[in-house]
């Protein structure tokens, strides 16, 4: 059945697929995850703030990001970020932002909305008595957050945060719309160049599956051990 196929093409293009493609995908995933978790945590703290305008701003941002398709966000940011950057530093011309940094910023901003909701649930899962205990010892808001609430919230939410990161890993393939070569993009290039569409797309799907599946198995094991710690 596979007589007409040439799987040799995969073997030949492995170095390119992984050195160019996968390294971009992984770098983007890790950067967007780190940035997204930090920014998302700040958003979560804003959403839970007693100061209404602050929580309103954060809530609007999160709701906006979560109701727009990612492809659109990638597009918009690609065109907007140079202008916003230029405006921010007071330049008369839009600044030059490469496709790489544009996608890092986009994914960070977009994923932050999702990480925000996860961290918000995490912060709310910490009993109010813990905050009271921190305050009673003289710790201020930031110290209570940094030493008592966030470490526990983060630990409780670790499995969900990682699951969201697996989704992020898959979503990074959408950068094809701004012509960036990620893993899927690299596979597509080879496929078109050598006319081996079926082989390359099958292989790409397999790689995404293996990585995601392995990651979610890891999360499940982690979940069990986190449950023991608590």
């Amino acid at each position: 059945m596979f007589s007409g196929f040439d799987f040799e093409v995969i073997w030949r293009s492995l170095p390119y697929l992984f050195r160019e493609g996968m390294s971009f995908t992984v770098t983007l995933t890790l950067l967007a995850m780190s940035g997204g978790v930090v920014f998302g945590t700040l958003l979560a703290m804003m959403r839970l703030a007693h100061f209404r305008p602050l929580s309103l701003v954060a809530a609007s941002y999160v709701n906006l990001m979560r109701s727009v398709p990612l492809v659109l966000v990638i597009f918009w940011f690609y065109f907007l970020v140079p202008w916003i950057g230029g405006w921010a530093i007071g330049a008369s011309q839009p600044i030059h932002v490469g496709a790489f940094w544009s996608s890092v910023i986009t994914f960070t901003m977009f994923e932050a909305a999702y990480y925000c909701e996860i961290m918000r649930a995490g912060i709310q899962s910490i009993a109010r008595g813990q905050v009271a205990a921190g305050n009673a010892l003289g710790l201020n808001y930031w110290q209570t957050m940094a030493h008592i609430v966030l470490p526990q919230a983060f630990r409780n939410m670790l499995p969900v945060l990682l699951t969201q990161t697996v989704i992020l890993f898959q979503d990074t393939s959408l950068v094809y719309v701004i012509s960036v070569t990620d893993f899927l993009g690299a596979a597509a290039k080879i496929a078109n160049r050598d006319g081996r569409l079926v082989e390359m797309y099958l292989f790409a799907a397999l790689v995404y599956f293996v990585v995601s599946f392995a990651a979610s198995r890891f999360v499940r094991r982690l979940q069990a051990s986190v449950a023991v710690i608590r």
């Binding site: 010892l137 003289g138 030493h147 526990q152």
Partner: protein, 242 residues
């Protein structure tokens, strides 16, 4: 040292405290009792500003708790508090629980904080448990660590919010013993509790609350001898029956 004057507090339209007034002098041990929902925990939490109140004035050593210009964290650092559910930080070891605020709030060095923490841990009889996590300790042990944690800050007064209510009966005494010792050393204490044995042994005064009001505020002998209010009599007869 602690002065509470005409304090009233509302949750929305529901009034939880009505014109509560009392004083706690330096070195005095005051027990606050009353039926559940009487506002005694709320009152004690107003003293270090964990609960805001809408009317009245509370001062601790002359510093007004309700004043928005007061540096509340600084004031709280000088008032120890022990909670019903211990509230140790579960992600930290006993030692880390004891040293965190000393280092972050009082600016003590790690060594200094550790020495202080271990000394107090020994005092509550738990020096072998320094490296454990709270989850591996019994309730009584956790509460004793919580007392040690508060004492690490060299507090000028200690607030106890039902410190033995969440404990199994066999663990109550180990916690009360620590509190009795503390009282005998002259610590200023405000204790919300139903442990009338503790009140008899070390209290100077007993405050009885009902429906958000201080109904009775009397010297210990007077309170246990002939409480003036009917409600206090009823309460006492109910909890002293067995």
């Amino acid at each position: 040292m602690i002065s509470i004057r005409d304090v009233s507090k509302w949750y929305g339209s529901f009034q939880v405290l009505t014109e509560c007034s009392t004083e706690v002098a330096k070195g005095e041990v005051v027990v606050v009792c009353g039926p559940s929902g009487s506002g005694k925990s709320t009152l004690i939490k107003c003293v270090n500003g964990l609960e805001p109140f809408q009317q009245g004035i509370i001062t601790v050593e002359g510093i007004s708790v309700g004043d928005p210009t007061t540096d509340l964290p600084k004031l709280r650092a000088r008032i120890g508090m022990v909670f019903q559910n211990f509230e140790l930080f579960p992600h930290m070891t006993v030692t880390q629980n004891l040293t965190l605020a000393q280092i972050k709030v009082l600016g003590r060095s790690r060594e200094e904080a550790l020495a202080k923490g271990l000394a107090l841990l020994e005092r509550v009889g738990l020096k072998d448990h320094a490296g454990k996590f709270p989850g591996n300790l019994s309730g009584g042990q956790q509460q004793r660590v919580a007392i040690a944690r508060a004492l690490c800050m060299d507090p000028i007064a200690m607030l106890f919010d039902e410190p033995t209510s969440a404990l199994d009966p066999e663990m109550i005494n180990e916690v009360l013993d620590v509190m009795v010792q503390l009282a005998q050393e002259g610590m200023t204490m405000m204790v919300v509790t139903h442990e009338m044995g503790f009140a008899r042994r070390v209290a100077d005064r007993v405050i009885f609350m009902d429906g958000g009001r201080i109904v009775e505020d009397a010297a210990k002998e007077e309170f246990f001898g002939t409480p003036r209010s009917e409600r206090a009599q009823l309460f006492l007869s109910k909890i002293l029956q067995h």
